[in-house]
């Protein structure tokens, strides 16, 4: 059984009188340890697919099953708990919390976990060391370069050892040299067993992944 099963997922939005079909019946299976890139033109539905996959966007129809759990059948705040325990997010604009240091930003997902502060600090430090920022723990986001901020965002996404790492255009705001470094880091994490699903419009990034899924007009092509 695949780690992630996306079955006939549809997502419709209403914009005024118009119904926008962002996803029109998507079926994807992702195995544990895979590195998948989802590519497509702007408006193809790739970011919508990632948000549905990340348990943040209820599909209009269809099912998302992850590690045997049907995400959108989870009651109340259980879905938030599932995200906290099983998913890691890397956003295009990093979305680091400006008033927290690199270490504190990485510790953020652990703020709602009942373990000691020392364990949280150790985990965050280890995650930052893994992305090569062990020496910049106390820097605020505005004291870090774009590439370094991206690394902090990746460290934050992996600090709770998620089943799946979801990344939305992680190199969208980086120059090509830094993009290569960041992609190499994703590859490295994947080599260590981390399942990665990445949305990108850059075909070069596809080279780092095991498989590329192309979306067009809300459908897999």
């Amino acid at each position: 059984m695949a780690l992630i099963e996306i079955k006939n997922v549809k997502k419709h939005y209403t914009s005024g009188d118009e119904v926008v079909e962002a996803l029109r019946g998507v079926d994807i299976n992702i195995e544990k340890g895979e590195f998948i890139t989802i590519m497509g033109q702007s408006g193809s539905g790739k970011s919508t697919l990632l948000s549905v996959l990340g348990g943040m966007n209820h599909p209009t129809a269809g099912e998302v099953e992850m590690a045997g759990v049907k995400l959108y059948q989870l009651p109340g705040e259980k879905l938030a708990d599932f995200r906290a325990q099983n998913l890691g997010f890397v956003f295009q604009s990093f979305h680091l919390i400006s008033y927290l240091t690199a270490l504190e930003n990485v510790m953020l997902p652990l703020a709602i976990v009942s373990v000691s502060s020392a364990v949280k600090k150790d985990s965050a430090r280890t995650a930052l060391e893994r992305v090569g920022l062990g020496s910049k723990l106390d820097r605020l986001p505005n004291q870090l370069s774009g590439g370094e901020q991206e690394r902090v965002a990746i460290a934050r996404a992996i600090v709770n050892n998620p089943h799946i790492l979801l990344a939305d255009e992680p190199t969208g705001n980086l120059d090509s040299a830094t993009s290569e470094e960041v992609m190499a880091l994703f590859r490295e994490l994947n080599d260590a067993g981390q399942t990665v699903v990445m949305v990108t419009h850059n075909p070069e990034n596809g080279a780092y992944s095991d498989r590329t899924i192309h979306l067009r007009d809300g459908m897999v092509v």
Partner: protein, 386 residues
Amino acid sequence: MKLHNISINNLKRRKAKMAFLTIGLMVGIATIVTLVTLTRSMSSDIERKMDEFGANILVTPQSNGLAMNYGGISLGGVTFDQREILEKDLARVRTITNHKNISTISPKVLGGIRIGTHDVLLVGVNFESELKMKQWWKVFGEAPKKQDELLLGSEASKILNLNPGEDLQIKGESFKVAGVLDQTGSQDDSLVFASLPKAQKILGKEGRITLAEVAALCSGCPIGDMVTQIAEKLPDAKVSAIQQVVEGRLKALDQFKRFSWAMAAVVVFIGSLIVFVTMMGSVNERTTEIGVFRAIGFRKSHIMRIILLEAALVSLLAGFLGYGAGMAGAKLALPFMAESKNAHLIWDTGVAFGSIGLALTLGLLASLYPALHASRMDPTEALRAL
């Protein structure tokens, strides 16, 4: 890292915003503290002054008769079964529940005497308490200090042709006129005042008194209750409140208190509005941040806790600073507002805890909707990028 660290770090690193919010709430709390403290200090000052002006409770013997006088013109009266109050019984007045509210008790014995060819009314008083209660009295000569000294009303002095320093005999007892009262326009003008023991002796009423005037401090003491309490202690006496004095005092104070409460209500409203607008602005500004929190698995309750904890911390700080600033403001304003120069500021722990509690309640209430709004944010909408 715990949820409170997020709140504290946000406040620490967004000092300008925090300062604005704190100042907004602090000004509101300070205004309330200043108003409340000023009102109370001024009320206390006014009460003290009012209490110095005459009695507000009258203790007279029980009688089945009706007095027949109006505006100082007596038409005589029919009185029977007249009882008298024993002077020693008066001590019981000091044992009532509200005894702390009693400022002065002024016992009096009355009786007609003849001086020369004139009939006059002799009033035996305790000069110390009488002079304390009747501060409008202006004495020419000296206030009586010895047992054999008298104080004459202005009219009595004229008719009897007696001036300060002169001696006279009453029923074989020698007296000296210590002082004469300036005209008061009241019954006091035609009276002769002697010390209580001497008057009792002359009138043959040793150990007895005709009436007692009581000055009660009105702050927080219902005069009606005190009247009942005194009546219970002195079953043979008739205790009545001098309504016009009592009502007058209460009315003046009530008006003042109503004004300050209205002012406080307006300030509370404005303060709450400031907190609400600032917290709402802060939440809207932090949309992305809240989206990140939700995306990484924070529950709605976690978001609410972060926002409300920030509000609580700011409100507590605003409460402390507001209390301090309010008291400082009251201290500065009191000399300009109070009637007397020796009006003192009332330091009340109730106001201190009340202002901090009010700041906390206001801050939390005004932040409740912004916190709810934040917790209900759709993470996808909040992040937009996803």
